[in-house]
């Protein structure tokens, strides 16, 4: 098990060939109070950089970009009714997708925690 971070402020927790993806606490704090999330469905495939969802705060809408290639195997459906969980527990209960990795080599393009901490200062 290892956790990686993207420049788009997502965390990627890898267990075997499945990764759990969410947004970092830093991202949630920057977005402000989250009131809506639009998610893809299980079975949807995507490539790194694709838009895989939208998060809306009181202030504005922000896209979620795929940190790597994959296929959605599970969607956290609780977020639809309780988007505020993304502020309360963005790196815990409020994960967004579980995805099957299509290209594990892409993990090397992501950051570790120290690298991410350096990014956000």
């Amino acid at each position: 098990m290892a956790t990686y971070y993207s420049e788009e402020h997502e965390w990627v927790l890898v267990e075997g060939d499945v990764a759990t993806i969410g947004i970092t606490k830093h991202a949630a704090d920057q977005l402000g109070e989250i009131v809506f999330i639009e998610q893809k469905e299980a079975g949807d495939e995507f490539e790194k950089g694709d838009e895989i969802g939208v998060i809306e705060s009181v202030k504005a809408a922000s896209e979620i970009y795929a940190p790597l290639d994959g296929e959605v195997v599970e969607v956290n459906g609780d977020l639809e009714d309780n988007p505020g969980a993304l502020n309360e527990s963005p790196e815990g209960d409020a994960w967004i997708y579980k995805v099957k990795l299509a290209n594990a080599a892409q993990l090397e393009e992501l950051m570790d925690l120290d690298g991410y901490k350096a990014l956000i200062g």
Partner: protein, 365 residues
């Protein structure tokens, strides 16, 4: 306006209170404090929020018959505005569009006008050029603070008992914590409250005195926007602009009967025609059925799939507990209850036309 953003007399206090500062209309203003937009919004509806609105232009008009002269620029009855009273209005252009919206108060020996921050550079020359014999003076040395919410009367009244006896749209000069201020019972949140014009060197001191009240918390531009949207109040640049007429903007209530009948203001021909025959489009409340907020510029379609209009303001309404929006729909549409679709990120989302406001206004009449 390429200069660095300007700071209001309350800037240091905003920073001390943890305000998240953003550039708004050329001013460095707090969009929110640590409480957050929703918390500040809810606190304002439940108790009292304090907003810095010093970025708005405060203007003094002195001369003979200022009210009558203002009537040549505005479709409001300012000639008959009584001393100590304030009235919402707008400058119209020759095409009947809205140049800016404003609040005019009759202060006895002068008129006091508050205009939008981003439009002072248009409005002041406009008044100077068209108000013959009127001295137009912009005030740069006063802060403007809004205390809004059901507890505003207690917050302001404990420091200035005379404020308790004021009614909605009344304006007085009185001391607050030993400082002479202009106090007006009005605001732009849909709640009871006051706007207080304070000499800049005392602005932080007086503001701290309000904030010392247990029920009063600072609130930023974010909460101000969601509060005014729920109250069905227009934001210049979003919901109204140079092309939209007051009739289209559903602002008929803000034009007094005599002015509507007599005309005599810029664009009267179009405005009177629209009053008689209806306008090509009108501003309405739009309530998305689902959870997705519909933002500015989202397309509005009728159920048959034809475009009938566009969202001009849209966000999440904390008091409503869901998304709220305003927008224009073309003539023949816009009856409360009408079902429409909003095209959000390419997908049609159901919504309904509703009566404004979303949240009942709570003024002290």
């Amino acid at each position: 306006m390429s200069d660095a953003p300007k700071r209001t007399p309350l800037y240091d206090l905003h920073v001390e209170l943890g305000g998240k500062m953003v550039d708004f209309a050329g001013w460095e203003m707090p969009v929110q404090y640590p409480m957050g937009i929703m918390g500040e919004h809810n606190h304002t509806r439940a108790k009292a929020g304090l907003f810095d609105v010093s970025h708005m232009g405060q203007v003094i008009l002195r001369g003979e018959n200022v009210g009558e002269k203002l009537e040549t620029l505005c479709p409001q009855a300012y000639a008959t505005l009584k001393e100590g009273k304030a009235r919402y209005g707008f400058f119209t252009n020759e095409d009947g569009g809205i140049m800016d919206d404003l609040i005019v108060s009759n202060a006895g020996d002068h008129f006091f006008v508050v205009v939008n921050a981003g439009l002072r550079h248009q409005d002041i020359p406009h008044m100077e050029a068209n108000l013959d014999g009127v001295e137009v003076t912009e005030i740069f040395d006063r802060a403007l603070v809004a205390v809004q919410g059901p507890a505003a009367e207690n917050v302001v009244g404990e420091l200035c008992p005379a404020a308790r006896d004021m009614k909605f749209m009344e304006s007085i000069v009185a001391d607050i914590a030993g400082v002479e201020c202009r106090i007006s019972r009005l605001g732009y949140t849909g709640e009871d409250g006051y706007e207080i014009s304070i000499p800049e060197d005392k602005a932080i001191e007086v503001t701290r005195a309000f904030l010392a009240h247990d029920d009063c918390e600072p609130a930023g531009l974010g909460a101000r926007d969601s509060l005014r949207l729920e109250a069905g109040l227009c934001l210049y640049g979003n919901d109204i602009d140079q092309s939209t007429s007051p009739v289209e903007a559903s602002l008929g209530w803000a034009m007094q009967k005599r002015r509507k009948e007599e005309g005599g203001f810029p664009g009267a021909a179009r405005i009177q025609k629209e009053l008689a025959e209806g306008a090509a489009k009108k501003l309405v409340g739009i309530k998305p059925t689902g959870r997705a907020p519909a933002r500015q510029h989202v397309e509005v379609q009728c159920l048959e799939g034809n475009t009938i209009g566009e969202i001009t303001s849209g966000s999440f309404g904390p008091t409503v507990g869901g998304p709220v929006a305003m927008g224009y729909v073309s003539a023949g549409h816009g009856e409360p209850g009408e079902k429409v679709n909003l095209i959000i990120r390419g997908k049609a989302q159901p919504a309904a036309i509703v009566s404004l406001p979303f949240v009942q206004q709570n003024y002290k009449r």
